[in-house]
Chain length 312, copies 2
């Protein structure tokens, strides 16, 4: 079999001029790691580890710019121009929002090696809520460590006279493939290491209504490992894990909660009264009722700006 | 950058439960080596080294059977049933015919890890002639060593209202992708190591008429390396190589030569006079003129069989 030494000897003759090089197995960044597909100019899997520390800080995506990964040969890199006017957004696999603790880490999440073409609505809404959910597991639900692996998948989506086909768009000069689905695996662990929860999800790369639940996109880890050809968390004894959605219900924010969250962020970054009032008026436009938190935030910001404008 | 030690430290936390496992980088067999795509259940590249020795012997494909690779976990293996009634043939990447010296090596070339769904005509005709050409470089054209790397590719083939798409069929329970093209890179080296010739070819996975030339499917190695995302022969100083098709013309057998070759093989394995005459009659059916070699082969076999039948 393959471990027979004579095979290796013959192998060295066959590969005298070197093993066909598909790039390093793993690429390490400040706060994520990934494997890159040089032919599809896309990540294959992107791994993260979330804890309170990395989710706290003031790194701001406003200072970050999407750009080709300087660590990847130019001929194997996607380009921003591939995405312009393609109709597809630049979708982070490791989210920018998971890197609050460090601006360099956040900037690195904007390398195109961490990006795939993603439906704009999907990226800004459902998938965004899923990313918020993974952070909530650490910030509000008491799991001290959460590991997340994310990546693109291509599944067969067409059937013509009994035959199955895979069909996907490729964008730009570099013909970057638009994945038919995105996957995300969440491993949540309690501080005492006694409880390990796993959830694997495959989400179509399409607009998704707010009333869709995360559960309806859950798949078994076994199926996902067959579709991706990847054995995830190989050092983890999976028999010791429980189903994340059984223990934690996997509930995403509702549309209202989601909208209120973003209004809160805009209130927080308002620099003057007119901006503050404009954001506050969005509540009526979207017929949303502000909760206690939002009312207090509005009042606090109002008095801060008033004070500041008096001093000027 | 990536070589910063702190990145590796953080990487170890991120990958605490192991690096997502996509299988070994290289799989070594008795007379070929390959990298396997566990998600597409197909080889990515298959490498061979041809010399007079391995091309001489009596190994016979009649004793070999297509079967899943015993070295690959069952969940990541294709199956013969994926191919039955699919309309696609089981196409060797490393050809059976390159393993004449050893029956085990030939048997291993029938592992499905060395197989992709291939158009029946393409497999039996044009691609077969290309495989014969690589052997001729060693057996008749004086190149002592020839390295060959072969594999499937998926290229965009459809354009709809200004958008480009990739579309390919997937067959069987395992949804094995039917590649849109196959690639083959040939590196021919003379005994004195002074001359190194390289040719890279990308052939559509479709029927191909006999009058098509190999040259019309030649591509630059740079382009092929971009499409596959693979740096082939990384240890070879490519500036020392010349274009195979400029030096050797890359001429494949004509339809006549090709047909005569197969009639010769059938004559050679004829066991009795009726079989011999039946094969010989094919010449008229296909209005082929036998050459000197074939006439002598026919006469020799005829007297052999006559003699043998007399002894019985
Ligand atoms: Mg996003
Ligand atoms: Mg073949």
């Amino acid at each position: 079999s393959l471990t027979d030494p004579s095979y290796k000897l013959r192998g060295d003759q066959i590969l005298k001029y070197g093993v066909p090089d598909r790039g390093p197995d793993v690429r390490y960044y400040r706060n994520h790691a990934l494997t890159y597909d040089q032919s599809r100019k896309s990540p294959i899997w992107v791994a993260e580890h979330l804890n309170k520390e990395v989710l706290t800080g003031s790194a701001n995506r406003k200072h970050s710019k999407f750009k080709p990964d300087v660590n990847i040969p130019e001929m194997y890199n996607a380009a921003n121009s591939d995405f312009y006017k393609s109709g597809w957004s630049r979708g982070h696999m490791a989210p920018a929002g998971d890197n609050k603790f460090d601006q360099v880490a956040m900037d690195e999440s904007f390398y195109l090696s961490n990006i795939v073409p993603q439906d704009l609505n999907n990226n800004g809404q459902f998938w965004n809520k899923l990313e918020m959910y993974t952070r909530d597991l650490v910030q509000t639900k008491g799991y001290s460590d959460v590991w997340v692996v994310t990546g693109p998948i291509v599944r067969s989506t067409i059937e013509e006279n009994g035959k199955k086909f895979v069909k996907y768009e490729v964008i730009g000069k570099n013909e970057v493939p638009v994945p038919t689905h995105l996957y995300k695996i969440i491993l949540a662990e309690t501080g005492d290491k006694q409880t390990k929860l796993i959830g694997a999800f495959v989400v179509p790369n399409q607009p998704i209504q707010h009333d869709h639940t995360l559960r309806q996109y859950q798949v078994t880890l076994e199926d996902l490992q067959i579709w991706t050809g990847i054995n995830f968390f190989p050092k983890l004894d999976k028999s010791t894990t429980k189903n994340l959605c059984d223990v934690d219900q996997c509930k995403l924010l509702s549309r209202e909660q989601f909208e209120l969250y973003f209004i809160g962020r805009k209130l927080d970054s308002a620099r003057n009264i007119s901006r503050l009032e404009k954001v506050w008026s969005e509540l009526d436009e979207k017929n949303l009722k502000p909760d206690q938190f939002l009312i207090e935030l509005y009042n606090r910001k109002k008095s801060e700006i008033d004070l500041k404008e008096k001093e000027e």
